[in-house]
Symmetry: C2
Subunit: 191 residues, 2 copies
């Protein structure tokens, strides 16, 4: 658990005192599989550090299909930024894919940190920049790589997802039909 906070709040400006204050505002939450951290239509009031388990973000497309837009693995942050920081209802759902243990920090508590600590502001801005970078990289991958390359990439860099998420969710995350993913898996096993 200590390791979790050190991994996530990893910024040169943080002092030990900062860290103690930050950690003290997080609350441990146990989540059963399939439970929600945020439902569409509601406004986010917290973000979450994932200690154990797998989390996903999904939206409904115009046909009502669920599209998984993000997977959040252990030692990562689940934060629906546009709802939390613009204080507007979310179009995304955040759901536990497996049973999970997470640490929650409420918006008001974070606001307090953000307004009183320079280090938190810098950390926050860099975290958002990194998010933007990652999502940009993912778009580029979607454009330039084939479905099977994208799957292999996931296998290599985010194996937790392959192991714990159902095929249908992975397929929608990769932007392909679930039958196609099934076929891709078969080819990989053969070769």
């Amino acid at each position: 658990m200590d390791q979790l906070f050190r991994k996530i709040y990893n910024h040169p400006l943080f002092t030990s005192t900062d860290m103690l204050e930050i950690v003290s505002l997080h609350k441990r939450v146990i989540l059963p599989k399939n439970s929600f951290l945020l439902e569409e239509g509601k406004t986010a009031n917290a973000y979450y550090l994932i200690e154990k388990g797998l989390i996903r973000f999904y939206v409904h497309d115009y046909n009502g299909n669920e599209i998984t837009t993000q997977f959040i693995c252990e030692n990562e942050i689940a934060n629906e930024v546009s709802s939390l920081f613009q204080r507007i209802p979310s179009i995304q759902n955040i759901q536990a894919v497996t049973d999970a243990v997470v640490w929650k920090i409420d918006f008001e508590d974070f606001q307090h940190l953000y307004h009183t600590m320079e280090s938190v502001r810098e950390w926050g801005r860099e975290w958002m920049s990194a998010q933007l970078f990652q999502i940009q990289q993912r778009s580029i991958e979607m454009i330039t790589q084939s479905a099977s390359s994208r799957y292999l990439h996931l296998m290599e860099y985010r194996p937790q997802i392959i192991q714990q998420a159902p095929l249908k969710q992975i397929a929608s995350y990769l932007g392909i039909a679930d039958t196609s993913l099934s076929r891709i898996r078969k080819e990989i096993v053969v070769s």
Copy 2:
């Protein structure tokens, strides 16, 4: 020009005094077509408000092809966030698609505003949230919509791009081959 600043720095927390100070730190720059605002490998030192003209972001994929990742239209901001705020070399290029007039603000000047004005911090965080939201929406569109729907969507909501960018750049932005875009255009004219 006044309208440009009002559109971009549009946040309830800004006072007239804030606005005057902010505007005073921007410098007008004239850009010839094809000139660069940022080149890959260099670290961004400013961001830009676009008064006139069209700007694009692009990267090179592993085959050396240019992939246009963003178009920035008039009254929008061109900011390579991960390079500017994480102070690391950019993998993206920012280039003027047409002759352009932009207003530049240097990183140090922005840092000054950011550290001294609460309103700038809130504005900045909301702007980044909005960016994340937009890029997320674009990913979803890439997954769920056909190439021609995506093109029609661009036509409807960002006509400046269709009018001013060459076909090849639009095609890579939509994630399709330029011959495919040419076909799509033909079908649209016929129907």
